[in-house]
């Protein structure tokens, strides 16, 4: 009880001293310069010669009771409770947040791994299909399939060439394609 009281009284004393100082400074500045447009700035502190002496005095302890410590603890305890709760809350929130983030990262990582794997599998599949396309697209393979389908290489082509006078000239002799041979596919070179 005494301690806060002392403090508060000291504070009051100090503040009253300051206010006095201010007022006195104000009054002096007003006295010397007249204009009142700079009342609350620097000059108050710079003056220094504040007659604070008489306002400060030692206040004797009013009462000395053995209950002062529990009382103080109770009072500060009451003030600390929300702070502790806040800290605990923050801690819990942090832990939960971290846990959440960690889980999210782990889930994403797992997801990424799976997708990477799926991607690799699909890339392999694409490569496999491309391989089939390329293999079926070679000249030799086309020739083999065409022969198997009963197609034959064409005979020599003839050209009808238009002349400037409008007539046309047949160049070369069109040879009919030979009949399809029902033999097995022509061997492809290199096989």
């Amino acid at each position: 009880m005494t301690q806060p009281a002392r403090t508060s009284s000291a504070r009051t004393a100090r503040s009253s001293a300051r206010s006095t100082a201010r007022t006195s400074a104000r009054s002096t500045s007003r006295a010397t310069t007249g204009p009142v447009h700079v009342p609350r700035t620097g000059p108050t502190r710079r003056t220094g010669a504040v007659p604070s002496g008489p306002h400060l005095r030692l206040v004797p302890p009013a009462r000395t009771t053995p209950t002062r410590v529990p009382a103080r603890a109770r009072r500060t305890g009451r003030r600390r409770a929300p702070f502790v709760a806040l800290l605990v809350g923050l801690l819990v929130a942090t832990v939960l947040g971290l846990l959440l983030l960690n889980t999210a990262v782990a889930v994403d990582s797992l997801d990424a791994t799976q997708q990477r794997q799926a991607n690799a599998e699909q890339a392999e599949e694409v490569a496999r299909l491309e391989q089939q396309v390329i293999a079926a697209d070679t000249a030799a393979e086309l020739a083999r399939v065409a022969t198997a389908a009963g197609l034959v290489p064409p005979g020599a082509a003839a050209h009808l060439v238009l002349q400037p006078d409008g007539s046309s000239v047949l160049l070369g002799t069109a040879t009919p394609a030979p009949p399809a041979v029902p033999a097995p596919a022509t061997p492809t070179p290199g096989d």
Partner: protein, 606 residues
Amino acid sequence: MRRTPGRGIGPAGRGDLRPRREAGSRRRQPLGMLQRDQRNRWGLVFLIALLVVVVGRLVVLQGVDGASYAQAATNDRMRTYPIEAVRGEITDHTGNVLAYSVDAERVTADPSVVTDPTRTALALTTLLGVPVADLVEKLSRDGRYVVLADQVATDVTDQVRALPLATRAGLAFEDDPVRLYPAGAVGGQVVGFVGKDGGGLAGIEQTYQDVLAGTDGEKRVEVDGSGNQIPSGIDESTSATDGGTVQLTLDEDLQFVVQQRLDAACADGATKSASAVVLDVHTGEVAAMAGCPGYDPGHYNETDPDLLGNPVVSDVYEPGSVMKAVTLAAAIDQGKATKDTVLDVNGHIQAGDAVVTDAHDHAPIKFTVTGILAKSSNVGAIMLAREVGNSTLERYLRAFGIGSETGIELPGESAGILEPSADWTESRAANVPIGQGVSVTTLQMASVYQTLANGGVRIPPRVVSSVTAADGTVTAAPRPAATRVVSADTAGQLTYMLEAVVGKGGTAPLGEVDGFRVVGKTGTAQRANPDCGCYAGGGYFTTFVGYAPADDPQYVVAVDLERPTSEAEGGQVAAPVFSDVMRYALTAGGVVPSGTPRPTFTLQVD
């Protein structure tokens, strides 16, 4: 300070719980100042020594060995995986793939981990296509690494991975990409092949190794205790740069036709080997280049190593009469003759200690220069060469590219053989103008005719069109400078004269392509007999080189057949091959005849 009852009773021994001595009176005599001081000092020394040891060790760990420990720690938690660059493709000029790489894996095993070799072998034998006995033997070896199969397709390795754990214990997989050549032997000699270590050993695979190979990368990541990558951990990966794609000037379809036609020629029983090349007249680009017997680059290791070259660029032969075009071009370009100049040509001519005759000796005939070429008169060509002079003739030969490499992007190119004219003997001076005593490659010969077809401007042949880097930037292959060898007028006269060769009255009626005006020259050169080092019984190199259409040349085709046992001439055996190839090239190339009539030629005057 609290004394236990036992201790209290023991030393006192009298049962009373009286303290054995007064508190603080352990020493009957307090230590002297000196003694205390000494003990303190020793204690201090001991503590300082400990401190020095600890600090010293710390300094050693952190300062001296620090880097290596940090390194060891890093190594412990970092894993490095190689990322293999994918080798680039080789395509023809339309983008048809001639060579490409696909992912495959090498199946290896650690025999010390394999529990039951027989069971594992039985599971793998059908998948890998390796006999059970081989697998069992490999899996039972003493050692920690055996290769079970190379270049196994990924769908197969996926099946291996799906085997029960007990069966596949000890198996491991490594990247081992496989190089595929879908076109097989078509273009195989140009494309080349890749060795076991991934380095190109022939053809474009060899010359463009740096472009095709790319740069390997590595994945270097931080891992946890069980080897999984830690997300957001250290990642010092460098990505691989895949190889670039090399696009050739070849046309796969034309290449296929040429290869097929040559294979047919090689199968006639008399032809030991054959080669052919098709050039684009205006660019000097190789549209097709083939030889037989060819090889499939995918099975190069099953092929006779002697066949793993490219005969079109590396095999030389004496061209024979096709070289007369150069001789006559030199004579006309030097103003010594025109296509209509008449010469009195005897059936034979003295050349030093030898006598050179025409194919059939004859009484003197008044040949025009056109007639000399059309009838392939050796004597007439030698007479014109003497007009030109040896050194001038050599200059023309070299300008046409004889005796030097064309610089085509293929390995193992031969420059051929052309001695300096200063070293020519009388007989050599008579032989060179008619294509003996000088060696050329099929490609060089094609290049000579490309020059004539292109109005006298030579463009050295090239087979690579462009290189596409992995990032998509396309770099056109550098093109050599075109050089004028003979005047356009000379080239025109040569084209006129060479047209007389093909068709009625010439030596190669079989070289005709129906509907088109074809220009060409036969060659039949004696082949040196490897048994005696002489010409006797060596057979012939029969050649045909030509271009079409005569009034607007588009393609040059050179065909060369090596026929050790046959007496047939170029006009009989090489010309039909030329004709078939040229017909396809013209038809597929969309070339339409102009319809201009073939001129009439005056070959001899009475």
